[in-house]
Symmetry: C2
Subunit: 325 residues, 2 copies
DNA sequence: CTGAAAGCGCTTACAG
DNA sequence: CTGAAAGCGCTTACAG
């Protein structure tokens, strides 16, 4: 490259990086020739000097990708303009595999690591607390003094239940996942706050068939039936909607149903399509990305848990109308 | 590191790499001390010499991850033992974004690139044909003289239709996606080969509602109804199963239904769970990974398209029994 | 205004 | 059997 432009290698370097002092024509000429011959500096050599690899690692145990992909999209989106590329490491729940991946990334001098998972209340099977690179947690439990990003499940659940109340539903039941999930308890707490304690919460598993079964339980009880269902995720909501249809109960005319997750494949294919709560995982990824970057550059970042607000996605399973409509 | 062991830096290097000649005790001592202080060589410095970064890039335009994640899992699985980490770049269908990612990876001296997508008959929006690093294509269209891995859709479709025939189905209809998809035409061709040309193929879109609608069409025609449905993907199959249930047609007693993709979230949650064709994407990823690695190491690899066999996953939507049962 | 030199952390011939 | 030197491709003081 330098030889092509007829200058020394150091002059070429300075020209391209807009550093040092030299004649404007020289700088222009070097840049022009670099462009012509498609010169691109070797990031490895650059990294050796600068101690920055412009590389970060994303560690996840969410094999299925339900949570990881949107988070990854946000990270990538935020960092691509800064020239940083991201290593994706799917580690299942295998501590040895996790360690292998972490070691490989550290060898490659990653500027930081983002740990992400599928539960707010579980740790990844690897200890990241004493690394010499910054670590940020997203949608998984962090450590003391770490920066952790998570969705605000309480606020999201309130959004859902308040929406049901707002469109006139008075007997709102809550069908959700296993009680040992932190987010289940948080959503149930918010449900109780808004809807009161008249109706019990139905805890179960994260499947369509549980949504189905819960509706059977609710509708085979004596007394008044619910006119609104707040479901812990979209799969449960879909099972519930299907069960209601099979019983001849009309959604949304007779009962409004609302889900959680906004998992398109489920929410959009339900008949009718589900109104649901979106956890804004892409935004969460974006912020996590910008935060590791800040830490990598030595900028100060306040440790602690950051809760990001959820957003209500209005489709047809509740009736009512979209805000502002 | 070297100083800790009281040897020169070159001796340390040779000890750890099992190269050069030295006393066995010296070698052992260096290794032991390296282990104790947790020494790990800087891969950037190493890469600068060796011209190998032990890094590859995965380029995909499958935002949703339906195809990319299993492929990625296979790649990672195959390469982690070789110490290679993988950059994931989701490029949507944006040529500028794609180029940015490719440039960033080339700067980082990736040893190779795997391009993957969501259709066998579409190119990624970026030209990878004249890179100075090896490129392998997986589940996307490659270029002249490239190595491309894809599923054998014809064989997969035969597997499905032969299974329906084997369990006694005689009037098998085929409900599938848009005819302009190469894989749709290939699967339809295989269907005709096995089932004959008595029944038309119903082309549509890749959605549950199309599966629904197609069943309405078939069952509102005069004459005999099908006793077997081969669906172009699991979503269509699920829609069909739901429509049949709503009509009071029993699956699998009256009609056997078979899907394609083995997308767990759809196939396993259908009532009854879907028998379907798995494209073995993880295996495809594994082979693609080993192939870029071979190319990166300069080992010879025959160019061309490699078709990988699909596998039948037997659940309950067809009746009959699993092979060997 | 420009270039020679040192150095990032390693590996690999080459001397001793 | 071990170490000093050169060099991978850059950047950054430092001379000229």
């Amino acid at each position: 490259m330098a030889s092509a432009a007829g200058v020394s290698i150091s002059t070429a370097s300075k020209a391209l990086n807009d550093t040092g002092r030299m004649g404007a024509e020289t700088r222009e000429r070097v840049k022009r020739i670099a462009g012509e011959i498609g010169y691109r500096p070797n990031a490895l050599a650059r990294g050796l000097l600068s101690k920055r690899s412009f590389t970060i690692g994303l560690l996840t145990n969410d094999t299925y990708g339900r949570f990881t992909l949107p988070v990854m999209a946000g990270i990538s989106d935020a960092l691509v303009d800064h020239g940083v590329s991201v290593f994706l490491c799917a580690i299942e729940d295998d501590p040895a595999l996790a360690q292998t991946h972490v070691d490989a990334m550290l060898d490659k001098q990653v500027d930081g690591i983002i740990a992400t998972g599928k539960r707010l209340d579980k740790r990844l099977p690897v200890d990241l607390s004493n690394l010499h690179v910054p670590v940020v947690y997203a949608f998984t439990e962090g450590t003391q003094n770490s920066v952790t990003f998570r969705s605000d499940d309480e606020q999201g659940a309130k959004l859902a239940v308040e929406w049901l109340a707002m469109i006139g539903r008075r007997r709102i039941a809550h069908i959700t996942g296993p009680e040992d999930f932190f987010s289940v308890r948080e959503r149930a707490g918010a449900y109780h706050q808004v809807a009161g304690h008249r109706e019990p919460v139905l805890y179960g598993v994260w499947s369509e068939s549980w949504g189905h079964e819960a509706v059977e339980q609710l509708w085979s009880r004596p007394g008044e039936k619910p006119d609104g269902l707040f479901c812990g995720n979209d799969q449960i909501a879909r099972g519930a909607v299907d069960a209601l249809r099979e019983r001849g109960v009309k959604v949304p005319q007779d009962v409004s149903v609302i889900g959680f997750d906004n998992w398109e494949i489920v929410a959009a294919q339900t008949r009718p399509p589900l109104t649901t709560v979106d956890m804004e995982l892409k935004e969460l990824g974006r912020q996590a990305g910008l935060t590791v970057l800040a830490l990598a550059e030595g900028r100060p970042v306040e440790p602690g848990v950051r809760k990001l607000p959820c957003r209500l996605i209005v489709r047809q399973s509740c009736g009512g109308r979209a805000p502002g409509e």
